[in-house]
């Protein structure tokens, strides 16, 4: 749809892309950061629907006790692919899409530093998605280990596991190339006068995120490579008989896995740090402390990994260290939450859809953060490990955190992308349906977990039935209401009120100085940076 949109405007903005390929080839060969950002966003939305459908299979099975619709093996494959697709196929590409679209506009760069490699970063995603989704149909089915791919189970799985391993390799390559691109763009292509400490907060969060990705994705590549050689070449990394240890995999995986949590969360923080000041009509409170908080979260995230492993038999001193280190993260995260709240204090608030999603994020992410603190306590976690409390916790962080923030960004920047205002009524309906059904789906899971219901099991004891039924109703409501996004986006692409260059009166930044929709090429010569547009 975006293609027709651009074609329709080719006549009256100074596009020079008419020299390039048209039709499908335009999208395949493009080196334009806006095209690539659009492709990332559409890809992530398609993957979001695929991963969402898988979660509905899980919730349908859990509607009532006993086995109804799927076999336990298929249930495990669904929950594994749901997680891998949502993390690597939906949430991460969504924020890379925002980065592609917005970072060059925010810092006044003509494009990403490596426009051709940028295209490859995107086009590596479809092969990985093909490997992951088609693995359902090979003998033995897809990987059924959960997204953490723990051995020894992952050593024993069929060839679907190999496909997941290679998909992870390809996704890792894509992430590393994308991150090198983003980090180089931010460090080397800012408009003259835009110092690092005047940079928009979204760019700061991505700078740290890109660092986390470059540091942690190769670790995951190493981990799955060792899985592969253990599976096929007789090595013994994760085999005690050969002197190895399955727990070694957990250490290496979570050394990647915990930074990964912040790889998802930090860009979400960045989006919210733009939306809340814009709709409060104030500067972001505590810019400098926000920057240091981001850097601190990024740094500490490398030193807390074993809080995922309290029950693996790590020594008591290790448990204590990881408990305290994990709690330390609450400090910079708290700084951020308080700064957002203080930004709103005595602001001239209005509640358009982006602001609603940002506030939904703020409330629900804080709940997810606090349950994270509960889980950080070793003594408590030993009870709650692998229960639905953990499932509830990370869905509050991933869905109400990352996804709500992505929606805030989508509604915030949609006028800049399409040139039209979205339908505010539909947007608000989308928010309230999401907010209500999300909590119906996931809040009861706290109680299920506290009562001892284990995760990753398709059957459960009778006493868990009521909360599970509520949760399933909520999840289907949530899933169906997400289709509203498609309606909103298509309507905004097709028409609607014309968006001004700065559709939000409180918004600051270079991205609002270019027309809406943003012309195909922007800032080919570096703009003069107006301090009035600075976020600090």
């Amino acid at each position: 749809m975006q293609a027709t949109q651009h074609a329709g405007h080719a006549g009256h903005d100074d596009d020079s892309h008419s020299h390039g390929p048209t039709g499908l080839m335009r999208w395949i060969t493009t080196t334009n950061h806006k095209d690539i950002g659009t492709m990332y966003l559409w890809f992530s939305f398609v993957m979001f629907l695929v991963g969402g459908a898988m979660s509905l299979v899980i919730r349908a099975e859990l509607l009532s006790p006993g086995l109804q619709y799927v076999s336990p093996e298929f249930y495990n494959q669904m929950l594994t692919l749901h997680a891998l697709i949502m993390v690597f196929g939906a949430i991460m590409p969504a924020f890379v899409g925002f980065a592609n679209w917005m970072i060059p506009l925010m810092i006044g760069a003509p494009d990403m530093a490596f426009a051709r490699m940028n295209n490859w970063s995107f086009w590596l995603l479809p092969p990985a998605a093909i490997l992951l989704t088609s693995s359902i149909f090979v003998p033995g089915g897809a990987a059924g280990t959960g997204w953490t791919l723990y051995p020894p189970l992952s050593i024993q799985m069929g060839m679907g596991m190999d496909m997941a391993i290679f998909a992870v390799h390809i996704l890792g390559m894509s992430s590393i190339m994308g991150s090198i691109n983003i980090i180089t763009t931010i460090l080397n292509m800012r408009a003259p006068g835009m110092t690092l400490m005047k940079m928009p907060m979204f760019c700061w969060t991505w700078l740290v995120t890109a660092f986390l990705l470059i540091a942690s994705m190769p670790i995951l590549a190493g981990a799955v490579t060792m899985l592969l050689t253990d599976r096929h070449f007789g090595t013994s990394f994760f085999n005690a008989a050969g002197g190895g240890d399955p727990v070694l995999f957990q250490h290496i995986f979570w050394f990647f896995g915990h930074p990964e949590v912040y790889i998802i969360a930090l860009p979400a923080f960045g989006v919210v740090s733009h939306v809340i000041p814009a709709f409060s009509r104030k500067h972001l409170f505590g810019y400098t402390s926000m920057v240091y908080a981001i850097a601190a979260i990024g740094l500490i995230s490398f030193f807390v990994w074993a809080h995922h492993m309290y029950v693996t038999g790590i020594p008591l001193t290790g448990q204590l260290y990881f408990m305290y280190a994990t709690m330390l993260i609450a400090i910079p995260t708290g700084v951020k939450v308080f700064n957002w709240v203080t930004t709103m204090w005595r602001g001239s608030l209005s509640f358009e859809t982006p602001m609603l999603f940002a506030l939904g994020f703020l409330v629900l992410f804080t709940i997810g953060g606090l349950t994270g603190l509960v889980l950080a306590m070793t003594a408590v976690d030993i009870q709650l490990q692998d229960t639905y409390y953990v499932v509830a916790h990370f869905h509050y962080v991933m869905v109400a955190g990352a996804l709500f923030s992505a929606y805030a960004g989508l509604y915030f920047w949609l006028p800049k992308w399409t040139g039209h205002m979205y339908n505010e009524g539909l947007g608000k309906l989308h928010f309230w349906l999401s907010m209500i059904f999300f909590n119906i789906a996931f809040f009861p899971q706290h109680f299920l977990g506290l009562a001892g219901m284990p995760r990753r099991i398709p059957d459960y004891a009778q006493q868990f039935a009521d909360f599970n039924q509520i949760s399933t109703i909520g999840s289907f409501g949530f899933g169906i209401s997400q289709l509203l996004v498609l309606v909103v986006v298509f309507k905004a692409i097709k028409g609607g009120a014309k968006a001004e260059a700065r559709p939000w009166d409180g918004a600051r930044g270079l991205e609002w100085t270019v027309p809406s929709p943003a012309p195909h090429h922007t800032f080919e010569d570096p703009p003069a940076f107006d301090p009035a547009e600075a976020h600090a």
Partner: protein
């Protein structure tokens, strides 16, 4: 779109089909590897096809980049981008090796001592905490690799190659093309001798020392670390050969030679990884 006329503008390349070719190559490589590893017919052909497409992509894409560099499309800001990117790429490689070094430290410090501890005596009675170890259940005797034979020679070779590549760089900066070419050729030669000696060492390990990938964690970590390092040396030597050919064709100036420096950085990185390997895999 490129605007070669506006010399000060940041170069944005024209649309290109090479990324898609690269993605196709990786899809073929991954599918071919999955099929081959699971002994499904024709997997090898898919794998070979993947390598072929990858080779075409690398030739085409790098050829394009070299053409752009030589035609002066890249201003100094683009040059700085390349430098940042190469530095971060090497950092990502460091972290890749860190995963395997971490695995080695873990098995040496934690898992092997634990398997030999009193707690495990019921399962693995009589297993001794020592290194090298193939673990409690691998009974096949093996001889570990000694540090002060071929590995020590290899250390000298790689350290010398670090010197020769720097000498070549001095030649490039001083516009002494012959010194540059000789220095590069010597570096490549040292690299190739290193790779040959590694290959010989692997042959010896399999035929005489009974040291295999299946030799417990010692064999696993030994082959994983030295194998990936050897692969990186091969990659580095290949890139050095490309740089040598470009030098002979008259590419690079004393002021602008990012590609040379990038490969030199990469070569030094491979060198430093080897020093780590020599100390913790072969020596200690």
């Amino acid at each position: 779109m490129s605007h070669p006329a506006a010399a000060n503008r940041y170069f944005v390349p024209a649309p290109s089909h090479w990324p898609l070719v690269g993605s196709l190559a990786l899809l073929l490589l991954a599918s071919g590897a999955v099929l081959t590893m699971n002994s499904i017919a024709n997997g090898g052909f898919v794998l070979m096809g993947g390598f072929a497409v990858l080779a075409v992509m690398l030739f085409g894409w790098f050829g394009r980049v070299i053409g752009e560099a030589e035609s002066g499309s890249y201003n100094l800001q683009v040059d700085r981008s390349f430098r940042w990117a190469m530095a971060w790429f090497i950092f990502s490689e460091v972290m890749f090796f860190a995963a395997f070094f971490g695995a080695l430290f873990y098995v040496r410090v934690l898992s092997v001592p634990d398997l030999a501890s009193a707690d495990q005596a019921l399962l693995w009675d009589g297993f001794k905490n020592q290194w090298p170890s193939a673990g409690p259940a691998v009974k096949d005797p093996f001889t570990p690799m000694h540090a002060w034979g071929i590995p020590a020679i290899n250390t000298l070779l790689l350290l010398s190659s670090g010197v020769t590549v720097t000498w070549a760089h001095w030649g490039l900066i001083a516009n002494k093309r012959q010194q540059l070419i000789i220095g590069l050729a010597l570096t490549i030669l040292l690299g190739l001798v290193f790779i040959s000696l590694q290959a010989y060492e692997y042959g010896e390990a399999y035929s005489h020392l009974n040291l295999k990938m299946t030799t417990g964690v010692y064999g696993s970590t030994f082959y994983m670390l030295t194998g990936f390092h050897g692969f990186h040396v091969t990659l580095g030597a290949t890139m050095l050969i490309v740089i040598l050919l470009r030098t002979v064709k008259g590419h690079f100036t004393a002021e602008r030679h990012f590609a040379f420096e990038a490969v030199a950085w990469y070569w030094h990185f491979v060198d430093v990884v080897w020093l780590g390997l020599f100390v913790v895999v072969y020596w200690l």
